[in-house]
């Protein structure tokens, strides 16, 4: 789950719904604006795109020249200091990852398995140990042991470094509002700008190989570490901080003894999220020499899709195992349980010793019996490949009931009756109609300041010459977000109300957040062979888990006294849900919507690769044909779209809260 922006819900004050006359309500104004746009759409039939006079066409050229300059710098006979520092960083990272991988190799597979399992067992308990063991067993079972170890080494390095960089910055951001405000747009950019846009500069600066792969992964995995840590620090009750200050705590004491311990739960969440975000980059990292499971996925796509599915599954297993184990470790290190007595110390020390001895023993036995570095005996690979291939063949068969009667008609319906009309509505009228309409909607929904930001962002899109493609992408993003939010709301509320549903949705969410989209988008093309649909589905599948998690947490965190009070008044369960819980969880729900949009935008490039075209396709073209400037410009447009949508949905929360107070 990505808690990214954000204000946490402080103990919710009772929501007082605003009363405006009906003709001034948001809904009416919104409908009126859309109505006016529809009238314009039909009245002004000819397309009038963003005027060329207002475009800055030389930007692409500048960017291209910048990249060539960078490349030549690195190639110069006497590299300057800057280049040497970068080379140092990249070779340092290469060494780190290679060292980890070599360590796994030398421990042999039994030793590596024992190391992972026993660390989890020692610090996280029996369940964590069992999960880790199952993880290793499945890497062996799918016959991708070596690839898994490469990825494992890469991810350990990337996650560790992301946390090492992100958490201190998060602490600063949590304590200084100014720093937080300064860093937020940077974090937005890191999350929204597609990795394809900066892959080439990363390669030029850091060459290819594990080092560059770690850097790329870190760019995407650091923002959640910073954001959630900051959220945690800011969430520490101010009266506690004041109490500590009045007792004469120094700044460091305050941080170490008060703020960090009290922010523990969210710090943990930031570790978990960093892991999930990092693992969602495995495939991209594979494109620049990260190797491992990422390469297995990309190559499998062309020559053996079933193998890509297995590699994707291994990535998911790794993510879930790491996530659950860190969670278990964190639970056990709860300071509330840490005051152990002498006997407790004794037990832990014995356990540590036993674990270390276990690793030594496993490694020793491995050498004694000649076990290889890579597990390669008795795999279920061929058997699994056979079944996965059968499933893929079924999906690729146009003669089946599934294709003929469900997916194909559904896809055609969505394109013909939803996507194409919306696309025409946004992209075909004269640009100023769409522009004015969207800014007016932003104004109605979230006030003047947000409307100005929105206007600015759409102006950027026009100026960089991406108006038409951006409108195509925009219409797809809107539809995907609407579906993801609707699905997420329903499942989130349901999960908050029912433990069973919650237990089912959590692993499903984990899978959808970490399974590389490339694994399932091609089967989607077979099932829904019509332009935008596969990309749309991929966006929905990636975005709705975030909505589910945030909504679930918001609804189940609603203050119990409010629920009790409603119960005492004789409210039914449905009434409590609709009149108490959901209104009180509104902030969390809005945060969910907002995050849903960001996640949908994160899939724009993948969507472009399977037929959604527009900005995503252009970004991919930029990387793959070395039209650096072109790709960057398209990414800028995606970023502008993201910021506009983000601010509008965020502004909503704030303006509502303000209107509640005022």
């Amino acid at each position: 789950m990505a808690v990214a922006h954000g204000q946490m819900v402080d103990a919710p004050a009772l929501a007082v719904l605003e009363h405006r006359p009906w003709w001034r309500s948001r809904l009416t104004l919104f409908t009126a604006i859309v109505g006016a746009m529809v009238v314009c759409y039909f009245a002004l039939s000819h397309t009038l795109s963003w005027p060329a006079a207002l475009e800055w066409t030389s930007l692409t050229g500048y960017l291209d020249r910048f990249q060539a300059w960078l490349s030549n710098q690195g190639d110069a006979a006497t590299p300057n200091v800057f280049v040497r520092v970068l080379n140092g960083i990249s070779s340092g990272l290469n060494t780190l990852v290679t060292w980890l991988y070599d360590a796994f190799t030398r421990l042999r597979w039994p030793g590596t398995t024992a190391l992972g399992t026993l660390i989890a067992l020692r610090f996280g308990g029996v369940r964590a140990g069992a999960i880790m063991l199952a993880g290793f067993a499945s890497f062996g079972a799918v016959g991708l042991w070596d690839e898994s170890m490469q990825t494992f080494a890469l991810m350990l390095a990337a996650v560790g470094l992301s946390l090492a960089v992100g958490m201190p910055l998060g602490v600063i951001a949590g304590r200084s509002t100014r720093f937080n405000r300064a860093i937020t747009p940077v974090l937005d950019a890191m999350q929204i700008v597609p990795a394809f846009a900066y892959l080439m500069p990363v390669v030029i600066l850091f060459s290819v190989g594990p080092g560059a792969a770690v850097i790329t992964t870190m760019i995407y995995a650091i923002p959640p570490a910073i954001r959630i840590t900051a959220l945690g620090i800011r969430g520490v009750p101010p009266n506690t901080v004041e109490a500590a200050a009045s007792m004469g705590s120094t700044s460091m004491q305050m941080l170490g003894k008060v703020q960090l311990p009290l922010a523990r739960r969210l710090l943990l969440l930031s570790v978990n999220q960093t892991i999930l975000f990092a693992l969602s980059m495995v495939v991209i990292a594979g494109l620049i020499g990260g190797g491992g499971l990422g390469s297995a996925v990309t190559n499998g796509l062309y020559s053996n899709p079933a193998l890509a599915v297995l590699a994707g599954a291994a990535i998911v297993v790794m993510a879930i195992a790491l996530d659950r184990v860190t969670e278990a470790i964190a639970d056990r290190t709860d300071p509330a349980q840490r005051h152990a007595d002498a006997a407790g110390w004794l037990r832990t020390r014995t356990a540590t010793a036993a674990a270390a001895a276990g690793v030594g023993l496993a490694t020793g036995l491995a050498y004694a019996f000649g076990a290889g570095a890579i597990y390669s005996r008795w795999t279920a690979r061929d058997w699994l490949l056979h079944y996965v291939q059968n499933a893929l063949d079924y999906m690729a068969n146009p003669g089946t009931f599934l294709f003929r009667d469900i997916t194909n008609p559904l896809g055609v319906f969505l394109v013909v009756h939803v996507l194409q009309p919306l696309d025409a509505f946004l992209a075909e009228p004269p640009w100023f109609v769409t522009f004015a309409g969207l800014v007016a909607i932003a104004f109605v929904l979230s006030g003047l300041r947000r409307a100005v930001t929105t206007a600015l962002m759409f102006a950027v899109i026009g100026v960089v010459g991406e108006w038409q493609p951006a409108m195509h992408t925009f219409s797809q993003v809107l539809v995907a977000t609407a579906i993801a939010v609707a699905l997420g709301l329903v499942l989130g509320v349901w999960a908050a109300e029912s433990r069973t549903v919650s237990r089912i949705t959590r692993p499903v969410n984990d899978v959808l957040q970490t399974l590389p989209q490339l694994v399932y988008v091609v089967p989607f093309v077979y099932l829904f062979p019509i332009s935008y649909i596969p990309g749309l589905l991929a966006s929905v599948l990636y975005a709705f888990p975030v909505v589910v998690r945030l909504v679930e947490r918001g609804v189940s965190d609603v203050a119990p006294h409010a629920v009790e009070a409603a119960k005492a008044c004789g409210a039914t369960r449905a009434q409590i849900l609709l009149k108490v819980k959901i209104p009180l969880a509104r902030d969390a729900i809005m945060l969910g919507v907002n995050q849903g949009i960001i996640m949908v935008l994160a899939v724009v490039v993948i969507a472009g690769l399977v037929g959604s075209g527009a900005l995503g396709y252009e970004v991919a073209q930029g990387l793959q044909r070395n039209e650096f400037g072109f790709g960057v410009v398209a990414s800028l447009a995606i970023l502008a779209l993201g910021i506009a949508l983000d601010r509008v949905t965020q502004g909503n929360q704030r303006s509502q809260r303000e209107s509640e107070r005022g």
Partner: protein, 326 residues
């Protein structure tokens, strides 16, 4: 008290395990260092399409089996691999589709990458249709026959007739061609190669009409009976890459055919390794040879190493030429 008593043995056990581990690690180091004495390690880059997998594994088999080299395979994307070769991290790429901008930057300017000749294949991009269409519309053999019949290719997203565009990484000019030839197709970007394959195989399986950007060599062409639509002849100054811009008339010709190149990093080319000579001579006897191996790998899901071995064993004559034996 008992605390102290236990700490001792616990530490000892830890220490013991540590020593065992160190012993094992040093022992392991020496055992692994003894492969490929004369040739050393050669790093080949495998690209994401099945033809490239065929190249890489056949070359790997030959180098390892006959020269005793150790071959490492990387999987770096098409453009970043130039930077990798410039830094000497990848030794050779065995199939490059004329990345002219990269040649300018890395081959001619930086001189960090070397062109070492064709891999024996001729690459050609064109407009392709399934052959069953020709039975009903024999005139589709050339682009002129398409005129007025565009709606045969209607799809839900393009009722006037759909043209399936190509992978973002390949050079294309179809929007310009369609306009310049006065055809009424809607150009639909279908995305990356696997997505395009999925889209048109789905249509072909249903025996529906489809016209698309496609190329040879590709093992699927024979399997799906794809035929090329004849486009206007090439003329002087005719352009192929739409990013060059300008008047659409300048694009109104067929795509050119060109040899697919082999690339070495400068470092590898001057290393004197015996692998350099062999890879320089390495070339497919025909497009069909690569298609065959690619089909084994991608179509029949054969293990690439086994597919390579199978091909080499039955084509020793070609392989001997690469090895410089008569």
């Amino acid at each position: 008290m008992s605390n102290r008593f236990w700490r001792g043995p616990a530490r000892l056990a830890l220490l013991g395990a540590g020593i065992a581990a160190v012993a094992v690690l040093t022992g392991a180091g020496t055992a692994a260092a003894k492969t490929g004495a004369s040739c050393g390690t050669v790093t080949l880059n495998e690209q994401a399409w099945s033809g490239s997998t065929a190249n890489t594994y056949v070359a790997k088999y030959v180098l390892e089996h006959f020269l005793g080299c150790k071959v490492k395979i990387t999987n770096i994307a098409e453009i970043p691999v130039y930077e990798a070769m410039a830094k000497g991290k990848v030794d050779a790429v065995l199939e490059d589709w004329q990345h002219v901008a990269q040649y300018k930057q890395y081959v001619h300017k930086q001189k960090s990458v070397v062109l070492v000749g064709s891999n024996g294949l001729t690459g050609h991009i064109g407009w392709y249709i399934p052959s069953y269409l020709l039975k009903q519309y024999p005139e589709f053999k050339t682009w002129k026959g398409l005129k007025g019949h565009e709606s045969v290719f209607a799809s839900p997203e393009a009722p006037q007739g759909m043209f399936l565009g190509g992978d973002p990484s390949y050079e294309q000019k179809d929007t310009q061609l369609i306009q310049a030839l006065g055809l009424n197709f809607k150009h639909v970007t279908v995305g990356a190669e696997p997505a395009e394959v999925a889209r048109f195989t789905q249509l072909i399986k249903q025996h529906k009409p489809v016209i698309m950007y496609w190329w040879t060599p590709q093992y699927l062409n024979a399997q799906l009976h794809l035929v090329e639509v004849k486009l206007p002849k090439r003329f002087k100054g005719c352009k192929d890459d739409a990013t060059a811009g300008g008047n659409v008339k300048a694009y109104a010709c067929a795509y050119s055919s060109y040899p697919l190149e082999k690339l070495f990093s400068k470092q590898f080319a001057t290393s004197g390794s015996p692998a350099v000579k062999v890879l320089k001579r390495w070339r497919w006897p025909s497009n069909n040879a690569q298609n065959l191996v690619a089909k084994w790998i991608a179509g029949d899901h054969m293990d690439p190493a086994k597919a390579a071995q199978k091909w080499v064993k039955s084509n020793m004559k070609t392989v001997n030429k690469w090895l410089g034996k008569k």
